[in-house]
């Protein structure tokens, strides 16, 4: 098999960034006599360069918790979470390696929120959590990250419109977000994250509420965007097919306690980016074989087969 490495664009002299999770544990205390939940147990994970990391795992295995941790929304109960920046050779005056502990959310890590908090067996309630601002129109929501930085009105509009067009929402600029369907709201969330332009993009089932056709389209948009910008992406999904198609690296998680059980490198996105159509990639025997293998692993985790 030919191993052709896709190298996304990187400005010369830029720093190389690694995001490191070392022996991270997260425990949610049980309230009202409930047992505490070990949501993440001994997570060791390094995200680097332009990794497109995809996370699969059954509902409640701690995927959202892992994302919240990286985003800085929650703190680990033990273990470390830090950025390691290695400076390019040209910058020899500066220290070679810099370690920056993640403390709270910041603009370098953009988030696309899980639209509907999964039908978690342990929590029961299903909440709409797209995290869009209900008092703003679709356009204002997407412009919001630029407004925070006082970018000029014209520039804001152009950037927001571009990303809304990418998501096929140009006819809904002045709608209020609560007037949109769940899938449309999700696309607004993606457009907003693209407009914020973070160096790391964290996406929690961003395509969960989209119809099959739109979903395939947005997958391809995200892949092409990733190729063009070389962003580090952390992507949670429930669809094995989507995971295999879109990522460069697959992580499979298991519940109780939430942990990483498998890791695979992926190269199907390279096939797509080097010219094959998505359907051809997704129906190749190698793809199908891999898909069945991963499904088998997940079903075993679920205890559905022995």
């Amino acid at each position: 098999m030919k191993k052709q490495k896709i190298v996304a664009k990187k400005a010369a002299g830029q720093v190389k960034t690694k995001l490191v999770l070392a022996d991270v544990n997260v425990v949610f205390p049980g309230h009202g006599g409930a047992e505490s939940v070990q949501a993440l147990s001994n997570i060791n994970l390094t995200l680097q360069g332009n990794d497109f990391t995809v996370v699969l795992g059954s509902s409640g295995c701690g995927k959202t918790t892992l994302l919240s941790l990286i985003a800085g929304f929650i703190k680990p109960n033990s273990g470390e979470l830090f950025f390691e920046r290695t400076l390019a050779e040209t910058d020899s005056a500066m220290p070679k390696k810099q370690k920056i502990t993640v403390d709270g959310p910041s603009r370098d890590r953009g988030v696309v929120f899980q639209a509907v908090e999964g039908p978690s067996r342990d929590r029961g309630v299903v909440f709409q959590k797209h995290a869009l601002l209900p008092w703003l129109s679709v356009l204002d929501n997407v412009e919001f990250p630029l407004k925070l930085r006082s970018v000029s009105k014209k520039e804001r509009f152009q950037e927001a419109l571009k990303n809304l067009k990418l998501m096929g929402l140009e006819d809904f600029l002045n709608h209020k977000v609560y007037e949109l369907s769940g899938g449309m709201q999700q696309r607004v969330g993606i457009a907003r994250a693209l407009t914020a332009d973070p160096s790391v993009l964290l996406m929690d089932e961003p395509l969960g509420a989209l119809d099959a056709l739109t979903r395939e389209n947005v997958q391809q948009i995200i892949l092409k965007g990733w190729l063009a910008t070389g962003k580090m992406i952390f992507f949670i999904t429930h669809s094995v097919e989507e995971a295999l198609f879109i990522g460069t690296r697959l992580i499979v998680m298991s519940p109780r306690p939430g942990r990483i059980t498998h890791e695979f490198p992926l190269d199907f996105s390279e096939e797509f980016l080097s010219g094959k159509t998505a359907r051809v990639v997704k129906s190749s025997p190698r793809f199908i074989k891999m898909r069945e293998k991963i499904l088998d692993i997940i079903y075993r985790d679920e205890g559905l087969i022995k």
């Binding site: 929304f73 959310p105 988030v111 601002l133 209900p134 008092w135 925070l148 930085r149 609560y178 907003r192």
Partner: protein, 304 residues
């Protein structure tokens, strides 16, 4: 010529729209979607109008002089005017006091003074309770410090601390406005604080992830997100303000609806008492309607 015609046409369309709008206050607008199982769904205005007519009719009937009395040939109402004057009498008093002085002023003077006190207190309360409520919501020290005094005085009837107000601040406007202010302040500050807590954490997280500063999160996310509850607090608050009006005007008020009612009750002029009650009710209700309209315009996303 052409534009004049067009203007006329526009005018006609406006009128048609207006009529349609009025119509849909009463019946379901066919373009509104009905959602199954929404509690209390549908237009209630017709029933409300019936309710008003119903109670007014009872009032009219029980005060109509149609029952024979002990005196031969004289008819008296079911309830004596001393206990409940008839609507006609109350309305007559209304028009009379509108231009003739009663207990230190004409009706517009009384209404003016009372509105000055209630809305003055309401304005002061809004200007202080909203920032403090926000601070209580976002800062544990402020919350810990202010919670005991507010929760302590909140359930105490204003009449109980009225004497203290008078001893401390005299019998002038200050103690009156302060009394009403305190009645509005507590519910408003607590609602504002609850509003801050109701802002979804994911909105705050999302804003920080997009690079918002603390100040930006406070003003553009928390304040905005707390807005529906702040407006509810204002509505509840001004209601309490009107409730406290008579108590505030008990002591040495030359004019005011509360003072008018008080002196009318001293001389058993029941029709003025009833008229004062109706006027307070109408003024307060009109303002509440205004607030509800403002709510619909300012926070259309409420409950969405």
């Amino acid at each position: 010529m052409y534009s004049l015609q067009r203007l006329k046409l526009n005018f006609a369309v406006e009128i048609m729209n207006f009529i349609r709008k009025i119509k849909y206050l009463f019946v379901k607008n066919p373009s509104d979607t009905e959602v199954y199982g929404v509690p209390g769904q549908g237009k209630a205005l017709l029933v409300s109008i019936f309710s008003v007519i119903f109670f007014a009719a009872i009032w009219i009937v029980v005060t109509l002089p149609i029952f024979p009395s002990d005196v031969e040939g004289e008819l008296i109402p079911y309830i004596k005017p001393l206990f409940l004057p008839s609507p006609q009498d109350v309305f007559a008093k209304f028009t009379f006091i509108w231009s003739e002085e009663f207990s230190g002023g004409t009706l517009p003077t009384h209404i003016g003074w009372s509105m000055y006190r209630v809305f003055g207190a309401f304005f002061l309360a809004t200007a202080t309770a909203v920032p403090l409520g926000i601070l209580m919501g976002i800062n544990k020290h402020v919350r810990g410090f202010l919670d005991p005094p507010i929760e302590f005085y909140r359930p105490i009837p204003p009449l109980a601390y009225l004497p203290l107000m008078v001893i401390w601040f005299g019998i002038g406007e200050l103690s009156k406005i302060l009394l009403i202010f305190l009645a509005i302040f507590a519910p408003l500050v607590l609602n504002t604080r609850a509003g801050v807590r109701s802002v979804g954490i994911e909105l705050i997280h999302a804003a920080y992830s997009m690079g918002a500063t603390r100040a930006q999160v406070t003003f553009q996310i928390i304040l905005k997100g707390a807005m529906p509850e702040i407006l509810t607090g204002m509505r509840i608050g001004i209601g309490f303000g009107w409730t406290t009006l008579v108590a505030a005007e008990l002591v040495a008020a030359q004019a005011g609806l509360g003072a008018m009612i008080k002196s009318a009750s001293d001389f058993l002029v029941t029709d003025v008492v009833v008229m004062g009650i109706v006027v307070i009710g109408l003024v307060a209700y009109s303002f509440d309607l205004l607030m509800r309209y403002f709510e619909r315009v300012a926070v259309p996303w409420k409950g969405k």
